[in-house]
Each structure stands twice: as C-alpha cells, then as structure tokens.
Symmetry: C2
Subunit: 404 residues, 2 copies
Amino acid sequence: MSLYDLLPINDALNIVLRVVKPLTTERVATAEADGRVLAEEIRSPENVPPFRASTVDGFAVIANDHGAPRKVVDNITAGVADRPALQSGTAARIMTGAPLPDGADSVEMIEYSQLDNGSVTFDRRVSPGENVRPIGIDISSGDVVLQPGSIIGAPEVGLLMTLGVTQIECYRRPTVAVLSTGDELVEPGEPLRPGAIRDSNRYALMASIREAGGVPVSMGRAIDDRDLQTRMIREGVDLGDVLITSGGVSVGDRDFIKPALEELGTVHFGRINFRPGMPLTFAEIGPKLVFGLPGNPVSSLVTFESFVRPALRAMQGDPHPLRPLVEVELEHDFRRPGGRLEYHRAVVRYSGGRLRARSTGLQISSRLLSMVGSNAMLVLVEGEGTLPAGSVVPAVLTGPIQND
Amino acid sequence: MSLYDLLPINDALNIVLRVVKPLTTERVATAEADGRVLAEEIRSPENVPPFRASTVDGFAVIANDHGAPRKVVDNITAGVADRPALQSGTAARIMTGAPLPDGADSVEMIEYSQLDNGSVTFDRRVSPGENVRPIGIDISSGDVVLQPGSIIGAPEVGLLMTLGVTQIECYRRPTVAVLSTGDELVEPGEPLRPGAIRDSNRYALMASIREAGGVPVSMGRAIDDRDLQTRMIREGVDLGDVLITSGGVSVGDRDFIKPALEELGTVHFGRINFRPGMPLTFAEIGPKLVFGLPGNPVSSLVTFESFVRPALRAMQGDPHPLRPLVEVELEHDFRRPGGRLEYHRAVVRYSGGRLRARSTGLQISSRLLSMVGSNAMLVLVEGEGTLPAGSVVPAVLTGPIQND
C-alpha cells in the first residue's frame, strides 16, 4: 500500500547524517557557553602560569644554599609581584599561588619549617624546583587548547576564562518547530471529550529537543485537513531550522503529512524497518529539515531519539552525534521481535563486573511506561522464540548507567 | 599544622550525604518540569486508552462474522465517538487511534482488504481482539505511574500530559552562591597585572552547578581580608541554600575560610585524604551548607564533582545522587599516586567488548587540560610504581561513554 521502501535503520540514519549540515556559528559569552559546541580552534595567547608559582605555603629558598638558618627577608602573598631578588642565606615566606622571587628556585613547605627569631630552619632538604610550578607547565603560549567540535563544559569554561577568552565562536542551537496533528487531540488541560486523547507528544518532544540542545517552538495542533497541514508545514519550516510533526504519517485516508511533504519538498524516506516507529518520514524543504514522526507516543520519542537527536547534535557541530553503543547481558529471557528490528526499552545497570539489562515491560508503541525510567534501547533482531537470559545484545545508552 | 584529620573520601562523602536533606517542594508546570525530580506519587485518574482504539488503518469487524463480503457502513476517524453499533455482515472503515464501534471486536488492516462496490473482503482471517488496544491496556485507572523521586524527562512529561496532569509537585532547585577568594584574582576580561591570575573557578563552578540542576548566584571575588570574607560568607548563606567558596582553605597565614566557618557555624571536615583537593572543607551554618573548595582549578572542579554535586542532587530529591561507578581496563601504564588516593581524569570508551580508559595526561591540580574532554575519574589507590596496562580499576563516569 505504501510507496515507500522499508529502509533498514542504518540506511535511514546514514541518509539523515548525510543530509544534515552544521548550522552557522555565533559569538557567545564563555560564561554562558556551557552545553554549546565550539566552532573555532583556541590557542593559548600566553603561558600558564605566566610566572613561577609556589604550589604550597612555605618558604621560597635557594635549594643548594643549605646548612645554617636562613634569615626571613620577605613575605610574598598571592597576587603581588616585583619583590626583591632572594640572596644567599635568606628565605621568603610565600603563599600558595604567589610568584617566586628572582633567585629562589624552590619552596619548602611550612610543615617542615622551624621559625626562630626571624630565621627559619627546615627538617628536610628541599630539591631545586620542588613545590614550584614552572612558567608554562600547564599551558605554553601558542598551544592549541581546544579544537573545533569541543563540547563546552565546566572545565572548558574554566580553561577559557583562565586564558582571558571571554567570548567564543559556537555553533547555533537549532530552532525546532513542533506541530501535532490529528482530529482526536485536545490540550492536556482541556476536558477529554469521548473518542479524544490529550496531545502529550508535543510536550514530550519539546523536552527531548531541549535535552538535545535545541530550542523548541510550539506550533500547537492541526486537525486532519490537508490544506491546513500543508500551510502549517510551510510556516514551520519558516519558523525553525527543523520542523517535527507528530501523527498523520500512516497510510490512512487522513494521513496528509507525507503527501504534503512530497508537494513541498523532497521526501528521503517514508518507512523504516524498525519498531517502534515504522512510518517515520524524513524530508527536506529548501534548506530546512522535516521529520514526520508517528503519532504513537513511544514511536514518536524513540524515532526522535534515534534519528532527530543525532540530526540536532550534528547541526550543533557535535562530532559525536550518536549516543554510546555498548553490549549488555540480558538479565531475563526476552521475546525476539517478529517482523522488524526492535529497539526494546530497558534499564541497564553495572552489576558483578558487567552491564546487565532488564526490560521495562510491555513494549507496545502506545505504552509510555515502557520508556519511563529507562536508560537504554536494546537492539533486538527479528526472529522467532526467545533470547535467553545471559545473551549479549547491543544497547544504545540514552542515560547514565545505574548501579545496584 | 592543620587541626583537621585527613578524612578518607568515603567517610567525607557519607558525612555530606548524612547532613543534606531534600529541599522543600513547589508546584511546577509539567511542560517545564524536565530535569526536575518529582516529589509526589502520581496515580492515573483514568484508563489509557479510555476506549477500545484501533492500532491500524483498516476495517472494524466482528471477527467470527467471516465468509461473505461485508458491507461498509461507516467511516470512523480518530477523535469521533458515539458511532452506531456494528451489525453482523458489516464493517466500518476505521483509522489508527479511532474508537471501535460497539459490536466490533477486531480491526483488519487496510493492506489485506479488497474494496468493491461498497463491500469489503479480506485476504486473511482476523482474530478477535486483533489490532485493538483494549481499555486500560497501557494504564489502568488508579495505577501508580510515577513514584516520588522520579526524574522528569521527555517520557515522563508525555505520560503526565497523557493523563491530563499539567502541574506536579517537584523539589526546589538549590540556589548556590559562589564566592572566589584571593588577592591574586582579576576578572577574566580585565588586564592581567604581574603576579595575578584570572578568576576562572567561579565561572567553571557556575557551569557545574547548572549541570547538577542548581541555580548559581555569583558573589564575585573577595580579597584576602578576614572580616570581608566573614561578612561575605554570612551574605552567601543568606542568598543561597548552599555557599561555595573557592580558595583560602590551605594552611597559609591568609587562608581565612576555615577560621571564618568555625566562627559562624560547624565545620564537619577540613581535609580529605584525596587528590586533587585535600583541603576541601564542609560546614553547616544554620540550615545552610558551605563547601570551601581549594583554589586550584582542577581541585575545585573535582571536589565539586565528588562532593558538592551529590549534595545538590540529594537536595533535589534525586534518590541516586551519585554518578555511575564502573570498572575499566587501563589502556596503558599508570603511575600509582604517592601518598593519597587519586581521582585520575581519563577518557573511557567502549572498545572490543569492554570499557577501557586512557589518561588525560599530566594530573597536577592546576592543569585544567587534564579535565578537558574527560568523561571519567579513575579511582587510583596510593602506592609505589606503576599500574600496568590491562589492570582493572574503579571509575566514576562523569559523562557519556565514548565509542571508537
């Protein structure tokens, strides 16, 4: 009945990743760049540290100048500079992070010092260079410290601020318009008339978009009217870098999304050999992307996770747009899926030295409880009968691994 | 020199987790609750689906009513209701998600149908109940669908909206005041005078706070003046549920944080047997928590990750406030840390069926590059010599596992 081939999941994903391109870049304050992807190479304009710094609280000394008590001639706190050079036979009290005076080559820790009448002796002998951070030990001037494609987290913010780089070039976050379709939908806050269901997908997808680093824009709901849906698709690709629709991609008389996308642009695929979410549709309209997600709640979120999220990550310049793929051991028997490859929602935990998975239960595509609390999708190949407990299968990790 | 015992890391963490309590709760719009932790039990007020729904596009029929062509008497689209009951010998065109008419017990897919002159015949025989979602199959009225402590993600948003639960009780996000201390600090955008360094920690910590679900409030910098720092600590615990200071916790003459905390409240510990970040200090002032983090950039972020983040997660009601702990195989020799347990920053990838780790290089506590791009902290026990490649060590996963 459908004109569209049932595309293997990897073929479909490859099409998506071939079509998507990183968005343009923009200048972002480093202080607010966490979560962004860097679009430029950052070279250090200077040495870190820019001076020889003490790593401890103690006394700056000349290491080979040992023997007699040393006269304490200075007190160097962090942040000061241009102190007089240290002469043989003397020491300078120095704080962690403070610059060594010229002449000094090491710092003895205060824990090993005896101060008496303005002179200091030590319980041990310090080595030249001990407790000193040499100039440039952390970073040398001119070093590449961050590559394009780096994801900015707390350490990267700290590193950039250390170097005085308060603005950076990052990829734009994609704006993603979300449109629900279907005569049966009502707003979640409205009374539920007979035969109707609440439009939960749009809100769940907006949360997924945020998690993926995108900026969701709600377009509300469209009833099953071809002209209206066509007009709203046009509007959606004007509004966003990406448009996501939910529902209306099956083969029913009132499934208008595929025909509308064919009319407005290029449909790359319209069915995938995959459960949940076979009718997933992917199209380009001009420079914009459209994902026609199935209306079943689980199908829409799993196809988002598997196809839209990688696209949104790639648009942000993430060089690793896919979730981690590992292998896990089944904790119980799993029924093999009939007919199509299945992404079986599961909980993966690290237990007894290995990654182990248990099902979230009944996997029908309407049952959102099959996703609640899950952190993985097990890749189950179609077949008859059961996969016995102890079998090892691939798993896409969608969240942190659990511990016992 | 220090009055404080060197506390083993687990003892210190246990103290923190014993002291922290979940914050109060607040009403949050479900549409904006992603990332929050649920503070109430959610029971379904209704059955899902509330009516018998078709899972396919096709024809609603009476399964045992087979044989002759069936007259097509109705066309039931999603969202309609109160259609006439189906009589023997008839069928109703029906869309995915539409309610079955009374009398019908199954739906035959359109793919298997032949429509001729207003009557339909099928290439196969449908079974009673086939392609029908029974009332309550996804969720039964009264079922507990979410427990307190559930972390709200896209599936949870979808589930709640499906049930019409548009507001939920969630734990408050902790407000976290951040204060940097030290005469040597200048703003990252300011010129760097000799002997000074840029205040990068405050910005890195604010990014870490956001990642942990907290709300950072910058208090700027305080020079090394005991009265000033004492006053700002008071102000910080007024402002936030938690105050984080950076620097000033060593044993130097100008390390005023510990004495100020002793004056204002109760110091639970002031040193940990841990690298990087030995001088970590944890105190309570009234109902508020204070973490005195070391000033070295790596020490401040690693102690945040290891102690402050679990506290912030627990304050948000997260029942699993700790990061995943796994075991990894070393890809190369690692030098055992002398003197203290080390959290060695590393990159963990899944390769050849196992989790493997390589170091991010020189681990001195000033070198932020040792954290850049890392997704794990390896737990290396103190000792002499090297841990050879192939050794298996515990690892705290701080980000997604990489693939080859």
